[in-house]
């Protein structure tokens, strides 16, 4: 800015003011499309969902009633929604730590290698790129009770020593191998597994980027101070240095985990799995709000969902601003 300002003469103020007005007008014209779209597409829906969550509105009906907190009350009393919270939380609480842990582990292993780093990195990143719905269908075939690759592989273990040391194997060989997707004991864990399978490569790449920014001198200094074992090196140098990366990785994994939908809809188009054991929030919004046209309750779930996600992001920002070093 300062470079263009003309030397102070008696004409200058008028020119400068004219210039500033022009700049202001240009700025508003340039931001106007983005600003209006932000309001219409992002802010208005939040407000609309907030309002509708207190009504019994449904599409096609001209009128609706205000029902107060009735919708929210339902969310916290009906067993269906209890199952929804349980499924969502089980998924998030399982997928987040494991996929972050595996991502970190893979990154550390790969980083310590001399050769084949690119190879492993590429392979582990493949699921992140692939269309999740297509891969869900591939997994569904893998998990097919009779012709799926997984049960076929497990069957090979029958009659071997595995049968004696692994009760699951003994049971399955005696009776039959699990139905996986049709069994309420396994369904949610299978979905978690696919979530982890799909997401840990993303975390690995972020950690690999984080590792390149750990200064070598830190390791030298630690060695000078008598830190010898690999574990101590990790605990005292690497892990603290990766603090900011971890905060980010955990938040983004959490938000993605909350949004799980593709696998569930692909496996169980109706009803959210055996005994509703995989009835996650996104699926509930889709089923209640869109399919059954119960917009009030759908909006209430949307609001809760937004609250969760915003809360998580705010924690992340707060941690980042404190420049986390555990």
């Amino acid at each position: 800015m300062s470079a263009t300002e003309p030397p102070v003469t008696c004409v200058a103020p008028a020119a400068a003011i004219r210039h500033a007005t022009k700049e202001r007008r240009a700025a508003w014209i340039l931001t106007a499309p983005a600003l209006s779209l932000m309001v219409v597409i992002l802010l208005a829906p939040v407000v609309i969902a907030g309002l509708l969550s207190f009504t019994n509105y449904s599409l096609g009906n001209g009128s609706f009633d205000w029902v107060g907190i009735h919708n929210y009350e339902k969310l916290f009393t009906r067993s269906t929604y209890e199952k929804m919270f349980i499924a969502t939380l089980t998924y998030v609480v399982t997928v987040v730590p494991i996929s972050v842990g595996l991502g970190l582990g893979a990154a550390l292993l790969i980083n310590s290698l001399g050769r084949f780093r690119e190879f492993y990195k590429t392979i582990y990143f493949l699921p992140v790129m692939a269309t999740l719905l297509a891969m869900a269908i591939a997994w569904e075939f893998m998990l097919h009770p009779s012709i799926g690759m997984i049960n076929r592989t497990l069957e090979m273990g029958c009659g071997t020593v595995l049968e004696r040391i692994w009760p699951f194997m003994a049971n399955s060989c005696a009776e039959r191998f699990p139905l996986w997707l049709g069994d309420k004991r396994y369904a949610i864990w299978v979905v978690c597994f696919i979530g982890i399978w799909q997401g840990f490569g993303f975390n690995m790449v972020l950690y690999l980027a984080g590792l390149t920014s750990v200064h070598r001198e830190l390791y030298h200094a630690a060695e000078m101070d008598g830190v010898r074992s690999a574990w101590e090196r990790f605990r005292l140098v690497t892990w603290p240095a990766l603090g900011p990366t971890t905060v980010f990785v955990v938040t983004i994994t959490c938000i993605r985990a909350f949004q799980v939908f593709d696998t569930i809809e692909a496996f169980w188009p109706q009803g959210g799995g055996p005994n509703k054991s995989t009835y996650v929030m996104m699926f509930a919004i889709f089923e209640k709000g869109v399919q059954q046209n119960l917009i009030g309750i759908g909006s209430a779930i949307t609001m809760l969902f937004l609250a969760f996600v915003m809360f998580l992001t705010l924690i992340q920002r707060w941690l980042v601003e404190r420049k986390v070093h555990y």
Binding site: P33, A34, I41, L42, I123, F125, T131, D262, T302, L314
Partner: protein, 320 residues
């Protein structure tokens, strides 16, 4: 290397698990239904000729066909002519399993149309995102105006709202406007990328003011500066953003599932695959996996060709 064997062992175990569904998907897309059922044939299957039952059924000879063929098979009964014709049909309908699977993938459902829709939707989303975000990012980074901080604060706030989360109210708005089952419905919610604005703003902050001042001296207006000065400097950042945006929307299933119902002409690739699965009886595993392979391949190939760029693009939000 020798010291590292256990690391390779663990990593290779991981590779097997990661690759397994890809391996199976591609392998099934090569095999005949029989081989899939019995689990034989290795990766490529044996590629023995197989008879396409549906093709034979379509050519089931009618009375007229038999009468017409009577000249070719003199001195025999109608029954024998019929059998001969069926045998001919079977011979004509014999195909290699891989050919069968991939032709079925494209002929059973309008897969090309789906792919085209995918391209149209992802491309228009990206282009509109850039047209909207770039000027705003420039204004937020380089122009002084009253309210700039407020606008930027709004951008930061909107970063908190994932579009998938507000899908229901967006769907209601679109339904009220009568826009469900249109291309517009597939594109509109994604036209504003607050993340894109944020990213480009951070990038523009690093562009020296002198460049812009020089352009102003040359008499360029602010619009011209955005497109003729800022855009060229932003190409690397834009490329990363393009990959981020294209991967997300090519693979997106949730939003298209909500706004497109029934109208096959608007199906994006994941929706098409889903439809295929819904229709399929057991014998269509092969063609379905062929469809899945076709849908997954473009991005995977692009990724293998330009890994660095892709990883940069996908992990963009790491820069927040």
């Amino acid at each position: 290397m020798t010291r590292d064997w256990w690391k390779h062992l663990i990593l290779i175990l991981g590779v097997i698990i990661v690759i397994a569904p890809f391996y199976m998907m591609v392998s099934y897309s090569f095999k005949s239904p029989g081989e899939i059922d019995r689990g034989e044939g290795g990766f490529f299957g044996r590629q023995e000729m197989m008879v396409d039952e549906r093709c034979v059924k379509l050519r089931d000879p009618s009375r007229e066909d038999i009468a017409a063929a009577a000249l070719r098979f003199p001195d025999t009964t109608d029954g024998n002519i019929r059998n001969a014709l069926v045998a001919e049909a079977e011979a004509d309908c014999a195909v290699r399993p891989v050919v069968f699977n991939y032709t079925k993938a494209f002929s059973e459902a309008p897969l090309l149309r789906y792919l085209l829709n995918g391209v149209i939707v992802t491309a228009s989303i990206f282009l509109i995102q850039v047209v909207v975000a770039l000027p705003a990012a420039y204004a937020l980074a380089k122009l002084k105006f009253w309210g700039r901080d407020a606008v930027f604060a709004l951008v930061l706030f909107c970063l908190l709202i994932p579009v998938h989360a507000i899908a229901l109210p967006l769907y209601i708005m679109l339904a009220k406007l009568g826009l469900t089952n249109t291309y517009a419905a597939l594109v509109v919610p994604w036209t504003i990328s607050v993340f894109g604005i944020f990213l480009m703003r951070q990038f523009f902050m690093t562009v020296p003011d002198d460049l812009i001042d020089a352009a102003r001296m040359d008499g360029m207006g602010e619009f011209a500066i955005v497109w003729r000065v800022m855009l060229p400097t932003a190409i690397p950042a834009l490329l990363a953003f393009a990959i981020f945006s294209i991967v997300a929307h090519w693979n997106d299933y949730f939003w298209p599932r909500i706004v497109v119902t029934g109208n096959r002409d608007l199906f994006t690739p994941p929706l098409g695959l889903r439809e295929f699965k819904g229709d399929g009886d057991g014998s269509y595993f092969g063609p379905m996996m062929a469809t899945a392979t076709v849908i997954v391949t473009p991005l995977i190939v692009a990724f293998l060709l330009a890994q660095k760029r892709f990883i940069e693009g996908i992990t963009l939000n790491g820069m927040k």
